[in-house]
Point group: C2
Chain length 362, copies 2
């Protein structure tokens, strides 16, 4: 291999892919990035066997070739080089990297030892505007579970319902669902939330995202970036029954004020794992958040609201704030029924996004 690339392009590519490489893996080569020539471009990729990210970089290819080098060192090194042209030259497994002021050698591992995720030969194809996709994923991804005990809940589910693409995530304690673009294909698949987080990190706002999947895998392509991920097996739980159809008590409230009083009460709720009592009263047209009295003290905070009905419910304050930060509106709607029934939070002006929180026993 003998190629010339710009520092700016190579650094961007390494920043996009290197995070997937990990030195904590049992296979030492998975701490490396693969650098190889593909036609007139250099392809930089990394994988953890579940997710692979590839980024193409325009370059002058004098001689073809491929090598893997330690991801973190290569990323830090190229990031700190001054802007301008970088020469990459391979000699056996040594990658020589030079600029006019720098001469470095990084010891690599041969590229043919690098595990490659299988290509998707045929599958379902659809595409979506990157801003719309990112906005939808940002609204739901925090609700996915971290607990491997139920693998399906560690994913974000994409399915078609009434001709629209619906994206949903739940950890069993809260649920976020958003309805997005109109969709002709009939899909139902669950992507690991970690892959979604990587996707949100690497895609820009300009390049249309093209999605292809088969039964095992899915690939997002956007501009010069490709993210391949394994799908999570199993059928996604029938979450619709969790969403209440009628609501006995409802309030409309300024989102940032709601977030502020919840945050403040949560400071007093450290001993009770963040649980606070949300009270609604249509005589006062107020929402009241109270922390449970503890060793340190207690707090009650109020905010004006448009209220129907009366009631109290105990909730995890972190879940309220996660929900509020996923709703892009000045005013939010909250509604609930009995003390043990799911609570619903929505954008006051838009029906497409629904957030559900299960109450705590009080």
């Amino acid at each position: 291999m003998n190629v010339q690339v710009t520092q700016e392009n190579l650094s961007r590519a390494l920043n996009n892919v290197a995070k997937v490489a990990s030195s904590r893996n049992t296979l030492p080569i998975l701490a490396n990035v693969l650098i190889k020539t593909v036609g007139k471009r250099v392809c930089v990729s990394a994988t953890n066997l579940n997710i692979a990210i590839t980024c193409y970089v325009g370059s002058k290819v004098n001689k073809e070739g491929a090598i893997t080098v330690p991801a973190r060192l290569m990323q830090d090194f190229v990031q700190n080089l001054p802007g301008g042209v970088i020469n990459l030259e391979l000699e056996d497994t040594k990658l020589h990297i030079s600029t006019d002021k720098h001469n470095s050698t990084i010891n690599g591992i041969p590229a043919d030892e690098y595990p490659v995720m299988p290509h998707i030969k045929s599958g379902t194809n659809w595409s979506i505007n990157p801003k719309q996709l990112k906005s939808a994923l940002n609204q739901v991804v925090a609700a996915a579970s971290n607990d491997d005990a139920r693998p399906i809940l560690t994913g974000v589910n994409f399915h078609t319902s009434n001709g629209r693409l619906v994206i949903v995530a739940t950890d069993g304690y809260r649920l976020a669902e958003t309805k997005t673009i109109n969709m002709k294909n009939d899909i139902n698949l669950t992507v690991p939330a970690t892959a979604i987080q990587d996707l949100l990190r690497v895609i820009n706002d300009e390049d249309e995202v093209v999605v292809t999947n088969n039964d095992q895998q899915l690939i997002f392509k956007a501009g010069d970036i490709e993210l391949t991920t394994r799908l999570i097996e199993g059928s996604y739980p029938d979450y619709k029954k969790l969403i209440p159809k009628t609501l006995a008590t409802t309030a409309q409230i300024d989102r940032s004020e709601f977030a502020s009083i919840t945050k403040i009460s949560s400071l007093f709720a450290r001993e009770s794992a963040g649980s606070v009592v949300l009270g609604v009263d249509d005589k006062k047209n107020q929402v009241v958040i109270s922390s449970i009295a503890s060793q340190f003290g207690e707090n009650t905070a109020t905010a004006d609201a448009k209220v129907k009905g009366i009631g109290n419910i105990t909730l995890n304050s972190r879940y309220i704030n996660d929900a509020l930060s996923s709703i892009d509106a000045t005013e939010v709607f909250i509604g609930f029924n009995g003390k043990l029934d799911p609570v619903i939070l929505k954008n006051s002006e838009n029906e497409d996004y629904t957030h559900v929180i299960m109450p705590l026993k009080s």
Copy 2:
């Protein structure tokens, strides 16, 4: 106690003092801040028995009093309250804090149990411009030791020499000395570096800093802030003999380029604890930084310089970068003698600041 203060003022005071309070201390009350009325002001203070910080807040005092409350909770709580007037009212050991939308109670511990650092009744007095003091302290504090084995080196030494105030710190591996204001008093005292870090955090650029000390303690006063610290006992080492008088090899080099090539070479020096070889050659008028070849690879980087003499020396790259970030100049001067003799770094245009690094054996 019954007082009214603004959220902005109380929050600023708590942010200044609360960091000194620690829940890791054996005495539970040291996790608290002391809040008491002093004339027409509220005084907020915290101590760890070595350092005490006090901040005065203008307020409306309806009834005098004093209490201690958990520092972190009080700080987080007041910081998150909306701007405007806050009422503080004490009932036994319960501090009621209220605004129009918030009602909180924080459980306190009586103020008379709070340890107070002894007052300095008489001592030496001097004062210094806050910008000059901060600039000088920022130049030296990083060179102080973290190792309690030699307590005197964990401090920053202030002494008078040739009618000027000299501030110096060393951990035995590197040394930073800066000459500041003209000074009539004859002082020689060593302040814990941790107190200096707190001081840098709390003083602003406007208020003249007035310093008073006796044999055991020192107090910095600036505006409405007071920082009291114990002094470190013992005589400061005679460091002057470490500073080389003549230099066989010297170079003048662009500071940011020097920092950049050192940073890059250090990436390859992780296995050798950051050691790099600095080479100077007056035939090429260059400074060369090389990392020692390791499992991952190696690096050589060059920068143009005005050079006298020829030589190589092995240094800890972190110490070079610490020195460079403490020199506020576009060009720096570096000079050394034998491979085991101290290396000197200076501002090319200003003789007041001197940084010395001990080389590594190579």
